[in-house]
């Protein structure tokens, strides 16, 4: 029993944090909004050099061969930087899905390209009517009933669905399932879809931790500088206590997210419930952080120029992505109250 990360895991996290602090700045994100795609091929290839797209891909396909316990720290960093690149669809969900398909030839054909940064992935899942980042995907993995299809961009018609967060690119995808694109079906397809959902929700939960941490940091910085009544507004308890409450929610969301990463990495029977609990808690922390950071910044926070809204909008969109909190709460309720899926009470009712 050791509920902690290794030095190597923390080092990899620090590397990505430092890289993103320099390369994924608010100014850069705003510049990308003005491009058609809001995505940066340059940034993506730099991320590929760090191994991010292929972090979960096997080493024989050019990946880092790491697991979700390593990954959870990296996704937190993506949230801290409000990174807009398709890390969830590609690195968190698409890569392990390709690697788990019954026909290994598909993984062999695509994973090296994905790991090298030459192809990005998008995943269409029944939990959402939209497909994120379909506009930059080299391959789309689309669910149809219990089937999964690997579809190339030429075979789909995309309709953009502009969203509140200028960095978030959502699309309706029109396509026709054919035998040639079907890569999984039946109980195998269902299991892979469930697995994809857990991985997507976990990556969003991890990003919410980073989003929350950044929002608190922005609000604290501002509260230390901004003077009213002759002192920094952060000296007033009305401000302090709101921020302290966000910190409490953040610090108790984090262990749930880390446990969920462990459960997914180890294929624990409880992983679905664990992931849902993590996403609910992390999203709650992020929603509260968004409101509090805005309030602390006052009218300045309500401007387009101030950067608070970058993370505020990300907190909102990540709450929706890969199952809203209400969806996950229903899933936990069904597991906990109706026995629909295994639930663990850590240590107290251990499943050993």
């Amino acid at each position: 029993m050791r509920f902690a990360f290794t030095e190597d895991q923390l080092l990899l996290r620090d590397t990505l944090r430092d890289f993103l602090a320099g390369e994924c700045t608010p100014e850069r994100l705003r510049e990308l909004w003005e491009t058609g795609t809001a995505r940066s091929p340059v940034l993506w290839s730099q991320l590929a050099e760090l191994g991010v797209p292929g972090l979960l891909a096997p080493t024989e396909h050019g990946g880092l061969g790491l697991d979700e316990i390593d990954g959870v720290l990296l996704f937190e960093e993506a949230g801290r930087a409000a990174l807009a690149e398709p890390v969830v669809g590609t690195a968190a969900v698409g890569v392990p899905l390709l690697a788990s398909l019954p026909d290994p030839a598909i993984a062999a054909a695509w994973l090296p390209k994905v790991a090298a940064g030459a192809a990005r992935l998008a995943v269409g899942h029944p939990v959402s009517p939209f497909v994120e980042d379909a506009h930059v995907a080299g391959l789309l993995l689309l669910c149809h009933g219990d089937e999964i299809h690997a579809v190339e961009p030429g075979a789909v018609e995309l309709t953009a669905q502009p969203a509140n967060d200028p960095s978030r690119k959502l699309f309706s995808v029109a396509w026709t399932p054919v035998d040639a694109t079907r890569v999984a079906a039946g109980s195998e397809g269902t299991a892979l879809q469930a697995d994809a959902l857990d991985r997507g929700a976990l990556a969003c939960a991890a990003q919410q931790l980073g989003v929350t941490d950044r929002l608190v940091a922005l609000a604290v910085d501002y509260a230390r500088q901004r003077q009213q009544f002759g002192k920094p507004i952060g000296a007033f308890q009305a401000v302090k206590h709101q921020l302290a409450d966000v910190q409490v929610r953040l610090d108790y969301a984090r262990p749930l997210v880390h446990r969920a990463a462990h459960s997914v990495a180890r294929g624990a029977a409880t992983r679905s419930a664990d992931v849902s609990m993590a996403k609910i808690a992390a999203s709650e922390a992020a929603q509260r952080a968004a409101k509090t950071a805005l309030q602390v910044h006052g009218a300045l926070g309500y401007t387009w120029e101030q950067d608070v809204h970058l993370w505020m909008r990300r907190a909102w969109s990540l709450e929706i992505a890969w199952g809203r909190s209400a969806w996950h709460a229903r899933r936990v309720a069904e597991a906990l109250l109706e026995g629909a899926a295994p639930v663990e009470s850590f240590g107290f009712e251990p499943r050993t």
Binding site: M1, F3, A235, Q247, M277, A329, V332
Partner: protein, 394 residues
């Protein structure tokens, strides 16, 4: 990261479970805030001690088991699973004990720890005074040196377990000309000393869990001082930090409550009780937060075992568990609906087919003290804001 137990840890769990199942009283003991219940709980502590389970993480020479903090967590899980009695000497074993280990002389450790572990001596807290609550540095009770004794004068209040305890620990002003945090010393006071008068105070739940303690020229040996003269604040902060953050409320307590809440909801649903739809979400939320608290504690223990320390984050912990405890009991009372206000002796308390009212109301009243004792949650929020977030002092 490895979230599985070792074979040794599993064996430890089995051993603890077997002992507890064989020894825990079949019927719940009366509240330890009654004279009869206090004695019954003291007897239980003696039994725990005889079995070697009273203080799992303490060194054997002080009446402990010499186990590590992970094994302590496992013991706590088994303790709450079987519904064992509350720890009447928690002020001693969870708060003063660890402080003694850090600041006590060898003589003091040998003198106090073994009798604490066996609950031959049960401890009360003496922090608050009528004019020193959240503002604890405003302590006015004096302990003035006279040869090898201190002469103590003043009044302590809200002394938890004060009504029936044997000893009291707290802060006293040993330098009468000092102000605020300076000039305070941490002193151990026998409650049967001449000049000490204990007046129990009836609590919100009607019982006498705390007391006022009047000190009128009470003479206490200088040897009863813990740490240096005038260094009491530092010693008190240690008491308030590490062990309050970890030991006072172990996670299994709340996981046990969350489990009972789930069962209550299911029984009420099965009995056709009219449950508001939002209750379902409340039960889920309670479960998630109890899990979060348990997992957070395991992370903390993993860190401590590798040499880490607990600092200001004890304040995050205290807010989280105290608010969770209240929330869980409020949810239970909402599930009980119109019977939520009934005492267990009410004829309708055990309804036909529906779950009985149990001890939820009692638990709710007790939970309401959580955001107040051990430093109000407002004080904890200040600590988080200033010492964790780095906001300026008010």
């Amino acid at each position: 990261m490895d979230l599985t137990y070792t074979a040794e840890q599993e064996a430890f769990r089995r051993e603890a479970r077997a002992w507890l199942e064989a020894h825990v009283p079949r019927e719940p003991l009366p509240s330890f805030d009654t004279a009869e219940g206090f004695q019954a709980h003291r007897n239980w502590e003696r039994e725990l001690h005889a079995g070697g389970w009273a203080m799992v993480p303490w060194p054997v020479e002080y009446g402990g088991r010499g186990a590590n903090l992970l094994e302590w967590l496992i013991f706590e899980e088994e303790y709450y699973r079987v519904g064992a009695p509350g720890r009447v000497n928690q002020n001693g074993i969870f708060l003063l004990g660890p402080t003694l280990m850090e600041y006590g002389t060898p003589e003091q450790k040998a003198r106090y720890l073994p009798k604490m572990a066996s609950s031959e001596e049960v401890w009360a807290q003496g922090w608050s005074e009528p004019n020193a609550g959240s503002d604890m540095a405003n302590i006015q009770t004096t302990a003035i040196r006279d040869g090898d004794h201190y002469v103590v004068n003043g009044q302590k209040t809200w002394a938890s377990r004060g009504a029936f305890a044997d000893w009291l620990f707290g802060l006293f002003r040993t330098d009468p000309d000092s102000e605020r945090h300076r000039g305070l010393s941490f002193v151990l006071v026998p409650l049967d000393a001449p000049g000490v008068t204990v007046r129990p105070i009836a609590q919100l739940d009607g019982e006498t869990g705390f007391a006022e303690v009047f000190l009128d020229d009470a003479r206490v040996p200088v040897a009863n001082r813990l740490g240096g003269e005038g260094e009491g604040w530092k010693v008190a902060m240690a008491t308030a930090g590490f062990e309050r953050g970890l030991m006072l409320r172990s996670p299994a307590r709340f996981q046990g409550t969350a489990r009972r809440l789930v069962e209550l909801y299911r029984e009420a649903l099965a009995a056709g009780a009219p449950l508001e739809p939002s209750l379902r979400e409340a039960v889920v939320r309670a479960w998630i937060d109890a899990e979060a608290y348990a997992l957070g504690t395991y992370q903390t223990v993993s860190r401590l075992l590798e040499g880490g320390k607990i600092g200001a984050e004890a304040s995050l912990n205290k807010i989280f568990w105290s608010e969770l405890d209240t929330f869980m009991h409020e949810t239970a009372l909402r599930i009980l609906g119109d019977r939520g206000e009934l005492l267990p002796e009410a004829p309708a308390a055990a309804a036909n087919g529906a779950p009985g009212v149990g001890r939820w109301l009692d638990g709710y009243l007790f939970s309401l003290a959580g955001p107040i004792y051990a430093g109000t949650n407002e004080i904890q929020r200040n600590v988080i804001a200033e010492r964790i977030l780095g906001l300026p002092r008010s």
